[in-house]
């Protein structure tokens, strides 16, 4: 069970308090009617799914209820950064406290 740092609560909490929300920074087109089918289905279905560093959304459902983002290495499952929704992905993730 992962220990996930919630940037709103300011502490690490066990994974069962959270719900995974899929890949982060997948932006819904601001005007969906203006985009092509391809762009729209890219948003709906296509994901990077990398083996390595990955930005993902979590929601602290059994805590503050907020969505936030985590950068995690999908090979080691090590969490490298945790930041609030809407903040940019850290360019070079600082290694988080284990």
């Amino acid at each position: 069970m992962l220990l996930i740092p919630c940037p709103y609560c300011g502490m690490e909490r066990p994974e069962i308090e959270f719900r995974h929300g899929g890949e982060a920074h997948v932006v819904r087109p601001p005007d969906p009617s203006a985009v092509t089918d391809e762009a729209w289905t890219d948003y709906l279905y296509f994901r990077s799914n990398p083996k390595g560093v990955y930005a993902e959304r979590w929601r602290h459902v059994s805590g503050c209820g907020r969505f936030f983002n985590v950068v995690r290495d999908t090979v080691s499952d090590r969490i490298l950064a945790s930041y609030r929704a809407g903040e940019p992905r850290p360019a070079a993730p600082v290694e988080a406290r284990r």
């Binding site: 959270f18 890949e23 089918d37 279905y45 799914n49 990955y54």
Partner: protein, 416 residues
Amino acid sequence: MRFSFLNVVRQALSNNEGWPEQWASPEPKAAYDVVIVGGGGHGLATAYYLASQLGVANVAVLEKGWLGGGNTGRNTTILRSNYLWEESAALYEHALKLWEGLSAELNYNVMYSARGVMMLAHNVHDVQVIRRHVHANRLAGVDNAWLTPDEVKAFCPILNISPDIRYPIVGAALQRRGGTARHDAVAWGYARGASARGVDIIQNCEVTGIRRDAAGAVAGVETTRGPIAARKVGVVAAGHSSVVMAMAGVRMPLDSYPLQALVSEPVKPMMPCVVMSNTIHAYMSQSDKGEMVIGAGTDAYNSYSQTGGLHIANHTLEAICELFPAVRRLRMLRNWGGIVDVTPDRSPIIGLTAVPGLYVNCGWGTGGFKATPGSGHVFAHTIARGEPHRLAAPFALDRFRSGRLIDEAAAAAVAH
């Protein structure tokens, strides 16, 4: 050498010293007609059918580790074909028919055991969904029958059918031709058959790049054992499909998750069939060796780590012990994880891609083992002919552009 009882006896008399290698391990050649990326069951089956039925024997199967080391060797070996949508039922039924003759076809005992797969209904909604499956399957020519609780108990006596439990069993669907098979044997049997027909099986050979020519078409692969030229490359990399496809610049509608499974210590026979419950997320069967084989859930997050959280096993065993109260004192012997590639509609992707010469077969999620022969067969046709096999056509990648999904997940959705 042919596998037969006679030869087992003959070899026993000469201390088993005469058995040859079951497959050759050649050095990779510079070029092949077709390169298959991934030496699991699906990839090896693809190569086998290319060589045995389609006259394409100049084929290499490249495996980064050992044959069958991915999900082929990590699943709970359940076979069935009673899917809801006719496209799915047709594909899985094709596979099940091949399973029925596979030991003879490969001359390798894959231990296909048609012991019956029972899917339990616990509430009114389950009954509606499962009966819909039964009716749809009957029309499609796929065997699937509705059982009353008493019939459920007769078929699997260790189930608790008391109406007073938290999730009582109110009925079940039974596919009698469903069952299990010996997972490793499938990979090995296909490898032996393919190798005998001229396919080069190359282990410890990781693909690191996909080469494309000036026109953008596939020209071959880069590997840890040097470049290999091929005009057709079939990617059958399961949990790593996104990674391999990214080498050709192709983005996929996939997420990879660790899926856990576990077995108990072996005991004498205690259940004769496979039992699944979607509602309480439990499924179990007993291997020929006597281990209770239990499928657990996926972890919540994308990962390539092949290890999952302890809470997943806890949750699974809560459900198993509730359903089968007699197993509570059995002990978990082994718990492992595989990486499954999951599509948005929980159906696989089989077919061509936007890159000429690049073919993909992935997205089998948590249920790919049962499809192994059918998947390999239709994929071999698709590669050889350069166009989708009839059964594979609905599973093309472009369904995620048209929205014509084959939503097996939605079919089990609960609401109201």
